[in-house]
């Protein structure tokens, strides 16, 4: 039997040893009887010569004992018993810890997945992102000429590539077709990410030339689902939107980029209008041995060269070309949010710890006798400390286990509204588990010490006499009050943060949309790139006529892009005024009833009429913002706008539009941004956009969806409809980020309040129980119930008030850190501060209510009888 197995099979070992010693005695007795002794005498002699069986057995066992381990096991056993003896305390403590640790685990998982863990590409720290920095902003997109210039002149990179977004494309396979998401990338894209196709190879530069052949690289899942994992796919032609693409490779399974795509196709870099817009995400891979600083100094130089050498029309950006680590770039939008959430859950954990600590401190009264007895029986302080640590550890581990369960509910993770390649990797993994365990252990040590240190001032005589400890009382009451002050202050800070975010959310929803989304349904129809403007207008016209006959439909219209559903802009200039130019005026082509359908008021002039859709002359309606910008204090009606012209430079030719009306502002693509300058033209002019949004105002929505679909597919049977939902949903979507933050922070704030409530209640109950005797004397001496009530409530109010003041000061100092998360709210909004302060005070007084009533009902006879 090995040493270790003896430790773990103690019971069997003990039985074996006893049996062996018994056998020895039996044998000796038998031998003595054989030598002539009486059985009684033999037994006595044998026992005398053998010695104290129990003691010898104990000493034999001690040989094997690993002293600290066995006493540790004993401590754990003991701790278990102690925790089971007070289930309410244990349940509240474990639950409190579970909330604190669970929230921390969940948020740490987010931070880990988004900020800490490397992107899912080899040597991902070598991948960099190109952006322009100027005094006021970061411009993350580059134009094609810029991209080509940097790619061709930079020497710090082993690859530089561009990404132009994901577009729906139709895959034609004989008679059958299916819609796919195609990512448009340049050569070098997969080299930059460091991903090698599992089959074939990446495509070369010849596939990105203007009018050159096209190439495609399939994802593993598309290769399996659409091409039955054909190993001979490389080199074959596939047809997307009736165009040929040569398949050059298949990606390894699990490949992910920021936007999900089924395949990646070569983008053709020409010098059309689209190519001079800022539409390309540029990434690069640093050569081995080149540092980010070295690459950045080259980038600064190249940026400057481009700005001096490029033709004027290509100089759209200014400032400094800057490289950011790709991961940092992706995380940059979320870093502040995550840090805010991390601080919030850290504070929540602090409250949880304070709470459990105060519970432990309060509970210690009932254990004073037990501890005194153990001390007087000779238990060492060290041994007691060890036991308290054990209890703390047990609580910590139980809390961590329960917390992990809380965290793995995944409630938070599934609600994240962000697009990141790492979003799928956010999971509760071993590292998060380690983090939780560390938190649990740290917390448990704090608890162990907290309960231990109050045994220091224990007066053994008094404690044993009446179970009451007067020497330690004052200091413990002070410590408890300090804990309550801390809890109140922290939860106040949390609730104020939550309040600011809720106010932001409220402000976002109060934001003047400029249109009425009630009872409006949005439908989206994407068209093939080859569809002509005339064909689109033809379909729109006929389908609108059908839709207007559907029962319940009040009015219907089309628009190239509905409010909050994206954007689309063109360079424009006021005719004859090159100084009045806008690089991107939002451009919407609409049908006649658009303004009336969305209840957008016409402020000046008139809306479009049927004749505007057939006339040869171009007309436009502009929004207030554009009118104010170009015609401040003047009448724009009759003036003309040049589309495709910027500061006198013509990018493309389009007939000038005569302004016939001004309408009220409507939100552009974002709820949180002011309305951009916008112009509307008749849909018959064409939209520069291969998709259409339909807005339908209807009194009843039952069965409407299928009628709407039929109206469109009745004219174009294979027309896709990708969105069909109430417009109100779009507005919710625009606020999803703030919504997510407000939801989490209010959850944390509410948890903090609940924990504080429990904490204040626990501490006051303890204090009232401690002072029962004193209260009894007071009542006996003539204090009224009212006085007693005032005594307890007054104490709670004083402690809470101190906490509130500290919390308010802390909030004044720290809420400005979350200014970027707020919308139209001052970080020190006095109204929110006041309301939250009152709320926290009320919660604390509510918690004090029950103990105060208990104190009022103290019967002086009962209270004094124990004396």
């Amino acid at each position: 039997m090995s040493w270790l197995s003896r430790v773990f099979h103690r019971r069997r070992f003990h039985n074996d040893l006893s049996a062996e010693m018994r056998a020895h005695l039996d044998e000796k007795i038998a031998a003595l009887i054989a030598s002539g002794m009486s059985s009684e005498e033999a037994t006595r002699t044998a026992r005398r010569e053998f010695g104290n069986v129990t003691l010898l057995e104990e000493r034999s066992r001690e040989v094997w004992r690993w002293p600290s381990l066995e006493s540790f096991v004993a401590d754990i056993h003991y701790a278990f018993r102690m925790l089971r003896k007070s289930p309410a305390f244990t349940a509240i403590a474990v639950l409190t810890l579970a909330l604190g640790i669970g929230a921390n685990t969940a948020i740490f998982s987010l931070v880990d997945g988004i900020i800490l863990r490397p992107l899912p590409y080899p040597h991902s720290d070598q991948i960099v992102y190109f952006e322009w920095l100027n005094k006021t902003e970061i411009i993350p997109d580059l134009s094609v000429p810029e991209f080509e210039f940097f790619r061709d002149h930079a020497s710090s990179f082993s690859a530089v590539a561009g990404f132009q977004g994901v577009v729906d494309e139709e895959l034609n396979q004989g008679p059958s077709t299916r819609w796919l998401k195609a990512g448009f990338v340049t050569d070098g894209f997969f080299e930059s990410l460091g991903v090698n196709p599992s089959l074939g190879r990446p495509f070369g530069r010849e596939f990105t030339r203007e009018n050159g052949a096209s190439a495609a690289i399939l994802t593993d899942s598309l290769w399996r689902s659409a091409f039955s994992a054909d190993p001979g796919i490389v080199g074959r032609q596939i047809i997307l939107n009736n165009q040929n693409y040569t398949v050059t490779g298949v990606l390894p399974s699990g490949f992910m980029y920021t936007e999900p795509a089924d395949l990646f196709v070569s983008v053709h870099l020409g010098h059309s209008l689209a190519d001079e817009g800022l539409n390309t995400d540029v990434i690069g891979r640093l050569k081995t041995g080149v540092s980010l600083t070295q690459a950045n100094s080259e980038a600064t130089l190249l940026g400057r060269q481009f700005l001096t050498q490029a033709p004027a029309s290509q100089r759209q950006n200014s400032g400094t070309l800057h490289l950011d680590r790709y991961q940092d770039y992706l995380a940059s939008d979320h870093r502040e949010t995550l840090l805010m959430l991390l601080s919030a859950v850290g504070l929540l954990l602090l409250i949880a710890c304070a709470n459990v600590a105060s519970l432990l401190l309060a509970r210690a009264t009932s254990r004073q006798r037990e501890i005194s007895i153990r001390l007087s029986l000779g238990a060492g302080r060290r041994r007691l400390l060890q036991q308290f640590l054990c209890e703390g550890l047990l609580l910590g581990v139980a809390g961590a286990a329960a917390g992990l369960a809380v965290a793995s509910l995944g409630v938070f993770v599934s609600a994240i509204p962000w697009d990141l390649p790492s979003i799928d990797r956010i999971a509760l993994d071993g590292r998060v588990l380690l983090f939780t365990s560390l938190v649990a252990i740290a917390v448990s040590i704090v608890f162990g010490l907290a309960s231990f240190f109050q045994t220091r001032k224990l007066d053994l005589n008094n404690a044993l006499k009446d179970g009451r400890v007067s020497a330690a009382r004052r200091s413990r009451t002070g410590l408890l009050s300090a804990l309550v002050v801390g809890e109140v202050a922290i939860s106040l800070l949390l609730v104020i943060s939550a309040g600011l975010l809720i106010q932001s959310l409220h402000n976002l929803f109060q934001e003047k949309l400029g249109f009425n989304p009630a009872h409006v349904i949005l439908m989206h129809t994407p068209f093939r790139p080859t569809t002509t403007d005339a064909a689109i207008w033809n379909l729109e016209r006929q389908a609108l006529a059908r839709i207007q006959t559907i029962p319940g439909v009040q009015s219907a219209a089309v628009v190239s892009v509905a409010p909050l559903h994206g954007g689309g802009n063109l360079p424009t200039q006021r005719d004859g005024h090159p100084e009045d130019s806008i690089g991107g005026t939002e451009y919407r082509s609409i049908s006649a009833d658009y303004f009336s359908t969305l209840n957008i008021p016409v402020l000046r002039g008139r809306a479009f009429e049927q004749s505007d859709f057939t006339a040869s002359a171009s007309v436009a309606v502009i929004n207030e913002t554009l009118a104010r910008k170009w015609w401040p204090g003047q009448n724009p009606i009759g003036d003309r706008i040049l589309v495709g012209v910027y500061q006198g430079h013509q990018y493309f030719s389009a007939p000038p539009c005569q302004v016939i009306g001004v309408v009220a502002d409507v939100k552009g693509s974002r709820l949180a941004a002011p309305a951009p300058p916008m112009m509307y033209v008749p849909a018959s002019l064409g939209s520069f956009n291969k998709s259409t949004d339909w807005v339908i105002r209807a009194s009843a929505s039952a069965g409407l969806a299928s009628s709407l679909q039929n109206a469109v597919t009745g004219i174009a049977p294979d027309q896709r409809i990708t969105v069909l939902e109430p417009m109100a949903q779009l507005i919710n979507g625009s606020a999803s980020e703030t919504n997510f933050e407000a939801l989490l922070m209010s959850t944390f704030g509410a948890l903090g309040l609940i924990l504080t409530l429990v904490g204040v209640y626990g501490v006051l109950s303890f204090q009232v129980a401690q002072r029962t005797h004193e209260i009894g004397i007071r009542i006996a001496l003539g204090a009224t119930r009212r006085d007693v009530w005032r005594l307890v409530i007054g104490k709670a109010a004083r402690v809470t008030a101190i906490g509130v003041v500290i919390g308010l000061l802390a909030a004044f100092g720290t809420t400005r850190l979350m200014a970027s998360e707020l919308y139209h709210v001052q970080p020190t909004d006095p109204w929110i501060f006041a309301v939250v302060a009152i709320l926290v005070l009320l919660v604390a007084l509510l918690a004090a209510y029950i103990p105060a009533r208990r104190a009022m009902k103290v019967d002086p006879l009962v209270a004094l009888r124990y004396e």
Binding site: M1, W3, D16, L17, A19, E20, M21, A23, H24, D26, E27, K28, A30, E49, F50, G51, N52, V53, L55, L56, E57, R59, S60, R61, E62, V63, W64
Partner: protein
């Protein structure tokens, strides 16, 4: 509680156990009888103190225990000397002899 005569010095009992087991494997009772007989009952050994000593030797790997049947048909542990035990015995004996020599030298002048 512990007024019985003790071992002469720590380790003496262990040494005698090892020496006895070197001749043949024995179980606890037989071991005690052998030691008593060999010392002509000069050493007052509390019989039970054999067991803590045996446990120490087991832990150090000097002896091994196997289940067996004693001559009186009882199921007992039979203790064997291991190679470690043999080496340990040799070291103990030689250091014991050195000690005896030392003591004898210190004591001899007074004697003469």
């Amino acid at each position: 509680m512990n007024n019985q005569p003790r071992d002469l010095f720590p380790g003496a009992l262990e040494m005698m156990i090892l020496r006895t087991l070197k001749v043949q494997p024995l179980h606890g009772y037989a071991l005690v009888q052998h030691i008593k007989r060999a010392s002509d009952d000069l050493l007052q050994i509390e019989e039970g103190s054999l067991y803590p000593a045996l446990q120490r030797l087991l832990k150090e790997g000097c002896v091994k225990a196997e289940w067996g049947i004693s001559s009186t048909n009882r199921r007992v542990h039979i203790y064997h000397l291991t190679p470690t035990g043999t080496k340990h015995l040799e070291r103990q004996v030689s250091s014991f002899e050195q000690m005896l020599n030392g003591i004898a030298r210190v004591l001899s002048p007074v004697k003469s």
